[in-house]
């Protein structure tokens, strides 16, 4: 009699715990939909494979969210896009979570013989940059202005919609040079050479992240953002080449 009761108890406990864990597993297994700037492709994907991502130029993502795209989180490479959505109450208050810097990349074969940013003015070059509405495109124009190289914009042969299209064209050798984030040079380091840009010429690059107001998973979204802001998340970003959150915004 006692063994039968014990057996029933054990079965009951096992059943209850497996139900609870499967319910928990269902909650955890449901991925969040994260719309993130293209430059975050590698770091976000490897930081958390379980979520669902859409990577594109931050301006395109802003337009999509504004038109009702089903995102839970929006991570932008420039405050402009998150702040505009915040002003329309489409996202919760954005938070700065990382920074970056620009570099000039050229194909390994260096067909135009570019060794410094100033060579861009001196030599014929097929330069590829992002469009002005894309964060990296706006940052590029700021860098060129600070360097006194705005005339180099006449050598642009294509304006891309995100930074990966720029790095792709340079990596393949189709373009002579392109401006990308330092973090985008890494995945293509075998195919490109990196030319650094002095710190004084760098624009103030700040990445912001926010919970989308329409999201039905706000608690989970806030928790994910907390993970990105935690030492673990920040370490993952630093390891990928991103810069620490600028002091003024902490």
């Amino acid at each position: 009699m006692r063994t039968r009761v014990a057996a029933l108890l054990v079965i009951a406990v096992l059943a209850a715990s497996s139900l609870a864990s499967s319910a928990g597993a269902r909650r955890q297994a449901d991925p969040l939909t994260i719309y993130a700037a293209a430059s975050l492709t590698e770091v976000f994907s490897s930081f958390d494979r379980a979520q669902r991502y859409s990577f594109a130029g931050s301006n395109a993502l802003e337009t999509q969210i504004r038109n009702g795209a089903p995102a839970d989180i929006f991570a932008s490479a420039a405050p402009l896009n998150t702040q505009r959505l915040f002003q329309s109450r489409m996202v919760e208050r954005p938070v700065t979570f990382t920074a970056n810097r620009l570099v000039l990349i050229v194909p390994r074969s260096n067909p135009a013989g570019i060794r410094s940013v100033y060579d861009l003015r001196r030599k014929p070059v097929k330069l590829v940059i992002a469009g002005a509405a894309v964060p990296v495109g706006a940052y590029t124009r700021t860098v060129l202005r600070k360097l006194g190289l705005s005339s180099v914009l006449s050598k642009v042969v294509s304006q891309e919609s995100d930074v990966k299209a720029v790095s792709g064209k340079v990596a393949f050798g189709q373009a002579d040079a392109g401006f990308v984030y330092a973090t985008d040079a890494r995945p293509v380091r075998e195919q490109v050479s990196v030319i650094r840009i002095p710190a004084w010429a760098q624009p103030r690059i700040r990445y912001e992240i926010a919970v989308v107001s329409r999201s039905s998973r706000k608690a989970a979204a806030r928790a994910w953002i907390k993970r990105i802001l935690s030492p673990g998340g920040q370490r993952a970003l630093r390891n990928a080449g991103f810069l620490p959150i600028p002091k003024a915004t902490r």
């Binding site: 802003e62 337009t63 042969v157 294509s158 891309e160 919609s161 393949f172 189709q174 373009a175």
Partner: protein, 245 residues
């Protein structure tokens, strides 16, 4: 959105540049497709066997390729670091990021549409007619220009219209191979993509223009398939070698 606003949005610099780039590139692409595609279709239509099957497969390949893959294919073939890149450079020709690149991309994706219909058009011509022309002493050139072309012109016209429509809407291969620069390589489709979050009215106006053009193209296809009884039901049915005489 009021039609007046759409019309003035079409007058914006971005829209006008896109219209000009598209008009120039599609005209050149169609010229190449018709010039090289018509004899090629005639050759395919007059053959049977394994060689024809291989050629047909090659020709129809761009049809099933996703445009982005077509873009990569063009880069691999004609890109500066591609298979023919060195040859192209040696000839002093510059393709990268030029209108030539747009023309190549559009030609590549649109040509199968013309070729398939053209082959079917030539095959549906009653074989006794060119044969009769030859027994009457006409050489192959005369047979082609005076007998085959006129008889197949309905189908050829419909094929050209389809290729035109496909070329007009080309996006993926163009943006990968030719890039996007206003006034140089930015076609109407690429302009919609850029204007979408810059000035939505311009994007809307360009889309409206493309809808109107597509409707006109569709109408002309319908009209052309009725143009000549020999090519009456080309588009929808399999090629037949016999016509009621």
């Amino acid at each position: 959105m009021p039609v007046g606003d759409l019309w003035s949005a079409l007058g914006s610099r971005a829209a006008l540049d896109a219209i000009r780039v598209t008009a120039e590139t599609i005209a050149l692409a169609m010229a190449m497709i018709l010039l090289f595609g018509t004899p090629a279709a005639y050759w395919i239509a007059s053959r049977r066997g394994a060689m024809r099957d291989v050629v047909v497969t090659l020709v129809e390949l761009p049809l099933v390729l996703p445009p982005a893959v077509a873009g990569i294919g063009l880069l691999v073939a004609f890109g500066r670091a591609g298979l023919l890149g060195g040859t192209v450079d040696a000839l002093g020709i510059d393709i990268a990021f030029t209108k030539v690149a747009v023309v190549l991309a559009v030609t590549f994706v649109a040509s199968p549409f013309y070729l398939r219909t053209a082959v079917a058009a030539f095959e549906s011509v009653d074989a006794t007619l060119p044969a009769a022309a030859r027994t009457l002493g006409a050489g192959p050139g005369r047979v082609f220009f005076r007998v085959m072309l006129p008889l197949a012109r309905g189908g050829l016209g419909a094929g050209a219209a389809l290729a035109f429509a496909r070329g007009l809407g080309e996006f993926g291969a163009t943006i990968m191979f030719a890039g996007s620069l206003q006034g140089v390589t930015q076609t109407l489709s690429l302009a919609i993509y850029e204007q979408f979050d810059l000035d939505f009215n311009v994007a809307l106006a360009i889309s409206a223009l493309l809808i109107v053009v597509s409707a006109v193209v569709l109408l002309s296809v319908k009209l052309m398939t009725r143009w000549h009884s020999a090519s009456g039901s080309l588009i929808l049915s399999a090629p037949s070698s016999r016509q009621p005489s």
